[in-house]
Symmetry: C2
């Protein structure tokens, strides 16, 4: 029985086929995401992968239902597998924000689900690093969040030649819109045209803009000038102080499709433009209030970074490390009479935190040794008839004889 289309199995390396997904690469990615988020003082949270359907329709309207894995559960509740994390997060924050000092800096790595047409870099599930900050309006927080985004990608071995964060501002576009006589009821339609500018034919964009009372050359000139707002200026200067200028540029082509963004917005792209956006986010100062039914009003900002596009990029740029089982010691058993002693040795090494393998059944010594080489183990250890341990370092091809205690001791310190 096959798995569902758009869903993935994750296998240990070496992978069984070229298009298989690597569980080791996924662990590596999640470890890096977690490590960098923690360096920035972000704390991990999680919520249910199944939520009341209303949680999503309240934010995105009934149209979203067409893209959801939604159903009635056995208690006749309308439920949906989570398509995004923000509504869950807003519920958690609205309920318990008083317990946490501001700004609240949280992250999660949820698996998200959307029933949509399959295409490159878009499956029906993916994992996403979500990082959000609540309770602070100052743009220095936007700078901190964007720095986290940049450092997350740097930690994966990507450089300023590989990616750039395109920084923009809903406020800048709002001002542009108002200055030229735009009326509030048409603002979202205008933002939608801007959002599609890069992907749309010029004539079509010009037509759409004209219908809203705008001229394409005027819009193009505004984008070309890329004059940072005061807010963006502060964000840029704080990123500059951190030495992160090479990773960011003002680019008003970015505006983000969703209705709820309110201030600075940004997207990370590969420099060569071969992939979809790596990450995207921005300010959403009104959303907590909307989603909490007016009970809690907290400024907020955040970004999401999916695993699929990022993994494609890391593979294309050959930035993934080699993954092995990470075995420290393979114990060799030359004579089955010494299996009990060897089991004791393996236990002591594992108790000391070392990864240990050995043949669980009787096997020829050369076969055991070959397996140690396949596993790329650091060393082999064989208990000799006199009770000592013969240790072979497989890279250095160095051989030593130690007492069991000496060997365990050396493996306890090493690492």
């Amino acid at each position: 029985m096959e798995r569902l289309p758009g869903f993935r199995d994750f296998y240990p390396e070496p992978l069984p086929s070229k298009d298989a997904w690597s569980a080791d690469a996924r662990s590596y990615l999640f470890d890096q995401w977690r490590a960098v988020a923690r360096r920035y003082g972000f704390r991990e949270y999680d919520g249910p992968p199944l939520e009341p359907l209303e949680l999503y329709t309240a934010k995105s309207g009934d149209e979203i239902v067409g893209q959801l894995y939604n159903f009635s559960d056995k208690g006749e509740r309308a439920v949906a597998m989570r398509p995004e994390m923000t509504p869950t997060l807003a519920r958690m924050i609205a309920g318990h924000q008083r317990n946490y000092p501001k700004p609240i800096k949280w992250f999660a790595i949820p698996q998200l689900f959307r029933y949509e047409r399959q295409q490159k870099g878009r499956l029906r599930e993916h994992f996403q690093l979500n990082a959000d900050v609540f309770g602070e309006k100052d743009p220095s927080v936007d700078a901190e969040l964007i720095a986290l985004l940049i450092d997350t990608l740097r930690a994966l071995g990507l450089t300023d030649e590989d990616f750039v964060v395109r920084l923009s501002s809903r406020n800048a576009w709002q001002e542009f819109f108002v200055q030229r006589g735009g009326t509030p009821d048409r603002a979202y339609a205008f933002f939608q045209v801007i959002d599609k500018l890069e992907r749309e034919q010029e004539a079509e964009s010009a037509r759409l803009l004209q219908a809203l009372g705008f001229a394409l050359p005027d819009v193009q000139e505004f984008i070309r000038a890329a004059t940072p707002t005061e807010e963006l200026g502060l964000i840029l200067s704080q990123l500059s102080a951190r030495g992160l200028s090479p990773y960011v540029k003002v680019d008003y082509n970015v505006i983000r499709g969703l209705a709820y963004y309110t201030g600075p917005v940004f997207e990370a792209f590969d420099r060569r433009g071969e992939f979809r956006a790596i990450a995207g986010g921005g300010r959403y100062d009104n959303l907590v209030k909307v989603l909490s039914g007016g009970k809690v009003d907290l400024p907020a900002l955040g970004f999401g970074m999916g695993d699929v596009v990022l993994m494609e990029l890391l593979r294309a740029r050959a930035r993934l490390p080699e993954f092995t089982a990470g075995i420290d010691v393979v114990c060799l058993i030359e004579d089955e009479a010494r299996r009990p002693q060897t089991l004791r040795l393996a236990q002591r090494l594992r108790d000391a935190g070392r990864a240990v393998e050995f043949s669980l059944t009787a096997a020829k010594p050369d076969k055991q040794f070959k397996r140690a080489l396949e596993l790329k183990a650091r060393c082999t250890a064989q208990i000799e008839p006199d009770g000592s341990v013969r240790v072979r370092e497989l890279k250095a091809r160095d051989e030593r004889r130690l007492s069991v205690d000496e060997f365990v001791q050396s493996m306890t310190q090493a690492r």
Copy 2:
């Protein structure tokens, strides 16, 4: 809008309420699970949380549907949120086992879903450490798997006074059953009675056994004698060689409810008997063949360990460590003019892998320092007017002045 009943939110510590679930404790648990599995050479895998419904009915019959989160997706496929990992794993193994040397030792930490009546230690979702081995019949592999189970619990600070693995054997019961003239068609019904023996009234058990042609005292004597089979004897001797005897005992009360077990079976319980089983598993040598439609025949064994009962036990025995944000350095900004230099310092420390916090907006020095204490940071660092760094170790209450380079250097080596 509330979350669904039986589902959990996970919050960073300090927790907002006494009954809230801790994301930090969950991370700690998963980290320990992963670390110990890797020490044993187990490799991580994962599969989809949504699978074809048939994957589960093929193994467990149509009765299981009543306990599933199942529905028709928008492509009219009958699907279900995974209630267990074994069918997914069997599919993956059957498809790609040729790629991996035997025995294949794999683990996963899936979230599993069951629509069932809520009760203590049983929610509608939980996480489960699944560890399985494929391709080896020898009971030394059972010993290795049980040792992994024991060491997983030991790594969490539990001792032989806290838990015991009750080891039993389907083969022993099968032999008992056949010796006393049991017929194959009644074997499963007999196993079901044995499985419920400890929870059922004696009179009722006696009645049920008699109906199957057995006498309760005979069954009780067999359990009391607890004579290990040859297979169990080998497992016990290998656990003894590892020094793990105190954690295991033969107990024929255990038989495991599910139909598909074939050899040794086991369950881990807290010694005081206050909780449901912490973990359970055993041999299932025929299941891969059944689930692969006869295509692949591999002996197999495995166990599952859920997060809910285990977390209750760890809390009850006070074995969880204290969780903090793990901040290494809080940078203090006495004068906003020195914010750019401080940002640069924070960046360098984070680049060196340190977790760094600082006030993102202007704040009074004593408030900043108080926050560092709240965070239980290792130290504070303040850039002085002369460009040097004043470092205060918060535990040792020690104060030093260093150059920025010296400080970054010291934080790069430390840890």
